[in-house]
Symmetry: D2
Subunit: 157 residues, 4 copies
């Protein structure tokens, strides 16, 4: 789906700078693990203050991570001078978000001049955050916990 040469040769640095410019990413402790043309991975260590009532990662944090990964993936394929905004997204929560860390992987499925459509997956890693393997991912393994389908918009900067 992705072009051989992204229109911004500095796409990786630009995308990492985009993440660094978002205060919420700092508050949550999220950071990019991988940035390639049309694909982004964002990681987040578990913290108790990011949880919902059962100790699992709150759906709002799940969404923040997936939304940023999708927006970043779309941004990697945009020309210099672009900004990116979320138009809409849909999230399905497949399993309790229990883990010692999480990674959101997003991919562009259609890169348009203005609108891009992306899909993202959130995986839990490590021992379950509450009481171990029963509710979460086994040590060393990854468990799929959420899916996103999103529309991102390019704006002029």
């Amino acid at each position: 789906m992705n072009p051989v040469a992204p229109p911004n040769p500095d796409f990786a640095a630009a995308t990492r700078a985009l993440f660094a410019s978002q205060p919420l990413m700092g508050l949550l402790g999220a950071a990019p693990e991988n940035v390639s043309p049309g694909r982004v991975e964002l990681a987040l260590p578990y913290r108790a203050d990011l949880a919902q009532q059962d100790g699992f990662l709150h759906a709002g944090v799940v969404t923040a991570l997936l939304d940023n990964a999708c927006g970043g993936a779309a941004f990697t394929l945009m020309p210099p001078g672009s900004g990116v905004l979320s138009v809409e997204f849909k999230v399905n929560l497949l399993a309790p978000a229990a883990g010692s860390s999480f990674v959101a992987r997003a991919e562009v499925r259609r890169a348009g001049r203005t609108l891009s459509v992306c899909q993202g997956e959130l995986f839990a890693r490590g021992e379950g955050a509450k009481g171990g393997a029963k509710d979460g991912a086994k040590d060393g393994a990854e468990k799929l916990v959420a899916l996103m389908q999103a529309t991102m918009m390019r704006v002029e900067r």
Copy 2:
């Protein structure tokens, strides 16, 4: 759509206790403004560390607030001994989330034994957080910035 008498006579206290048990609500600074049968309002003051790259409230925070309002609204109509989990939701972002505070209003559209369908609206209040009224809500007025359509699930506690 909502029953005259909710099955849990202590629904209001139970729903406020649900919000109080969510660490993320404390981190974000969100609090219930109103809890009635099938309806919940959650308010959040703007803070710079909740923003995306343009200073607007991050879509993940918008979603956290709407998701909690929808989950709380569904919870008000559940019998004692219930818990609530998000199954899925869809968010449309209609305008930049610029304001000095925000309120999410959610309503149950169908209350099933297991699954409930809710709709939520997020409004910005007060002066725009960045550069005033041009991008955000006028003083004293409210501006619609996002819509959610969500499925919530009752679980036994």
Copy 3:
């Protein structure tokens, strides 16, 4: 949400002509009941060949009706020379679509220059299509069976 004067003074005739130009509407037997600025109602009589395996209206037909009502509602607020395309939509099915006829009501929640966000509701009317009132709408009443949240795009003609 809607302007006092829509930018196309002939919006009603233009929107009815849009529906008339869609062959699928003829195949399904759908027709506009009401067209006003930012709002459209589309009606459809039940037919057995529009059903899924239980005799209820198929979710694809539910969606076709809601999608057209949302697209038409967005179109009423567009200037002359516009066309409308669906960007994305989300449907929640709240109850079996059992009835002798159905009506989709859609409303624009945000009318942008290019993108419009709409919400739609599908109601069943009359006796349930299969075995009467148990599964469907009571005589003379309407029953809410589905919700849509959608993004529509204006294109130049």
Copy 4:
């Protein structure tokens, strides 16, 4: 994601019988191309009466095909005596649905006892239905035109 042995050894015949029991599939001319555990492919030849105003396949037909493929995929992993209903779905339309035929491919991403989450993709095949290759799929190739993310529910029969 899919179990080695689906709980219904006759899953393929049961799923094909499910499609055969849906009158709308006959009206649209859709038929299963492939049924395997957790995966279904449904094909549909283009017909002018299935179109929207530009001659492309109507989004309601796109949805009907994707919804049925997702429901069928979920059904292949359900035990004997099950029925399947759509709870909700989200569709992104990526490109005009122009082609001489279409195929919907769906896959189960999470198979729960009651709720299953599926993803589907719709591809256009053959020459574009209106004016050839410019707007549609090249001869022999497939072009991705829509994505679905859906929740399906098991019911007892």
